[in-house]
Amino acid sequence: MSDYALVTEGLTKAFGGFTAVRAVDLKVRRHAIHALIGPNGAGKTTFFNLLTKVHRPTSGRIVYEGADITAETSAAIARRGIVRSFQISATFPKMSVRDNVRVALQRRLGTQYSFWRSMRSLAVLDREAMALLADVGLADYAEANAADLSYGRKRTLEIATTLALDPPMLLLDEPTQGMAIDDVDRIKRLIRRIAKGRTILMVEHNMSVVADICDAITVLQRGEILAQGSYAEVSADPAVKAAYLGGGHA
């Protein structure tokens, strides 16, 4: 088996005449934190959308753990263990924090279509849900409605929910966007912690986050790969500086 969890080959997406992602060959090493950065409009979100089948690739292949998943549906991909977080917060607002996590755990029971079964059959998941919440520091809010959480905690909850699926691969789209600095730190620590035994691909504009936790970085520009490497390599690349980092970063 190769070292790479996810490999794309010549992945391309054209919207009408406009090519948002062009022939991207990306290799994400297993159990690494891999950052995807690039100027606005470079195609990062679109690339995520291709991986999760919000859009269909115009051409190219996506291989996950050796299997070609180019033609699979969103839900199928999630079931394979590739789970994404959203740029805007994605919780189930009217459900309690614990139920948010339990919904994700429930998939494992395989009873999601059991409309005849009692809700009590879900109680077996409560311990695990609480453990996960404790893990991310949300145990005190277990009974609160997700809608009542602050922004940062919503993002945390979202990550807890995602972890409940125990996904081997996580796609995070700007996980710290709009967060206060102390929240950013918390999330940063959280990501590092959960990265154990998981592959993470994330889009991030916050360079401090990228510098601190990412093992590998790919820079996209106009849909194409501009540079790849470690933070030190990439941030020293003059092309990257010009296109993305600007003068503020030495």
Binding site: N40, H205, G247
Partner: protein, 236 residues
């Protein structure tokens, strides 16, 4: 030295979303040509302050004077017509309008608005996507569009909510230059920012908001001296 006239004076501003009381009496004074920032943690009520100025909250009380005119009882569109330009949190791009339409949509509030061409020159990304629907732009492109379009209106008092969010560092730098330029042209700017590093070089004054109140007012010159206090308030 003659102090410039007051552009925006806010006294005891309170605001509610439904039943929940979010602002508990904000006091701010912004003079013509000044740039002030509202800092604070998530949920402190900074965005709500901007919304309450424009009457976008469910209920509000207190006093909001725009260039001396009391606006607390005016409806939103009239307040805007006093010359306020608003760049909302989460951008508020019209998804079903094209970039071009989004840019030309807003009514003119003053004579000194930028032309569409000028805006496009400022944000070349937008020029490329001019006929794309707003909803299809990338996050950063939407942010640029949101800022660009209020510059076309000629509004002289700008309320900007987290304009650097989701932008590439180069663009953030460019934006910093743009805000400085606006300031030098005499625009009055209220900046809500998470990114203190961005804000600190631009603003004349900082207000730190906490639990719907002004917790501290810090002049640009004092920042160094009060570094510790700022750090504590913002969690930097």
């Amino acid at each position: 030295m003659l102090e410039p006239p007051v552009a925006l004076q806010i006294r005891g501003l309170e605001a509610w979303y439904g039943e929940s009381h979010v602002l508990h009496g904000i006091d701010l004074t912004v003079r013509e040509g000044e740039c002030v920032t509202l800092l604070g943690r998530n949920g402190a009520g900074r965005s709500t302050t901007l919304k309450a100025i424009l009457g976008l909250t469910d209920r509000r009380a207190g006093s909001v004077k725009v260039r001396g005119q009391e606006a607390i009882r005016l409806s939103t569109h009239r307040i805007a017509r006093l010359g306020l330009g608003y760049c909302p949190e989460e951008r508020g791009i019209y998804r079903t309008l094209t970039t071009q339409e989004n840019l030309t949509l807003l009514p003119r509030l003053g004579s000194e608005g930028m032309s569409v061409a000028e805006v496009l020159a400022m944000f070349p990304n937008l020029a490329e996507r001019a006929d794309s629907y707003g909803g299809r732009l990338s996050g950063g492109e939407q942010q640029m569009l949101a800022l660009g379009r209020i510059l076309t209106t000629g509004a002289r008092i700008l309320l900007l909510d987290e304009i650097t969010e989701g932008l590439a560092p180069v663009i953030v730098e460019a934006l910093g230059r743009a805000v400085s330029l606006l300031k030098s042209r005499g625009f009055t700017i209220v900046l809500v920012e998470q990114n203190f590093h961005f804000a600190r070089h631009l603003a004349d004054r900082h207000y730190v908001i906490e639990h719907g109140r002004v917790a501290a007012e810090i002049a640009a010159g004092e920042v160094e001296r009060r570094e510790a206090e700022v750090g504590r308030l913002l969690g930097v």
